[in-house]
Subunit: 127 residues, 2 copies
DNA sequence: CTTGACCTTCCACTTGATGGAGAGATTATA
DNA sequence: TATAATCTCTCCATCAAGTGGAAGGTCAAG
């Protein structure tokens, strides 16, 4: 199938599929004589795999590694687990940072009258 | 003072201060005859202000707006509050997305044996 | 034969910086 | 005073992960 149909089946924009092809993440199974990218069901499955992994915020490089393992019949689940676990740590770190941010900002917003006067604890805090 | 000293006082890399100057976010108070950026205490305060706001993940454009309000004696705290509140909503949304991600990924990692065998619920889930 | 949908490559833009090259300015030391 | 070290300047490239658009080739239907 052509890129449009493949993108459709994977639920990705055509541009993104072409981008994944450009960076060698998911290559089309072959090219037509006129240069059209052609995707078979295997390559579409890879696109879907990448889409899922990306929705988990895995980086493109992580996806590349996971995709290798996905295709590797000799893989060990410990390898996959390692990548996922490292990623989990990143997510947890980010989440707690965001939480601190939210608490502090919430505090500031609550302290701010939000009226016509120029007095503002938010501005004061930043100054 | 020169850019190095200003950057130092603001706790920002010189490159960043120059970048803020380039995009017109915090301009140096003037330039020396030889073209050196010169920062007075007011412009350094603005740098510090931006640094704080950025540490709260406010975008550069938000910072620009907050900086305008910071300098505006006729500002109303409601304007500042609006920006901060919108930002708070973004942070909360991001935080809950991250939480969902963490829970699901944690689930997957826990379900994965992480041993020598190729069977892996993480890979299965993505496939 | 032409229209329209789809495909191609290439280039620019996004955010918020950061790194480096090459050159000029200033300051410290010998 | 010479020179070396440090600072600063501008300009260009790069990062992630695409997205948007231009200019042009391809294909099927009417």
């Amino acid at each position: 199938m052509n890129i449009g149909e493949a993108a459709n089946q994977a639920g990705l924009p055509v541009k993104t599929v072409r981008y994944y092809s450009d960076i060698g993440l998911v290559l089309p199974s072959h090219r037509s004589t006129s240069g059209y990218r052609n995707y078979d069901s295997t390559s579409v499955k890879k696109l879907i795999f990448v889409k899922r992994a990306r929705s988990f915020d895995f980086s493109i490089e992580d996806c590349r590694e996971l995709l290798d393992l996905y295709q590797d019949k000799n893989r060990t689940s410990s390898n996959v687990r390692r990548i996922a676990k490292e990623h989990l740590v990143q997510i947890q770190r980010k989440e707690s940072e965001l939480k601190n941010l939210r608490l502090e900002l919430n505090h500031l917003v609550k302290a701010c009258a939000g009226d016509d006067r120029p007095d503002c604890p938010i501005i004061d805090y930043f100054s």
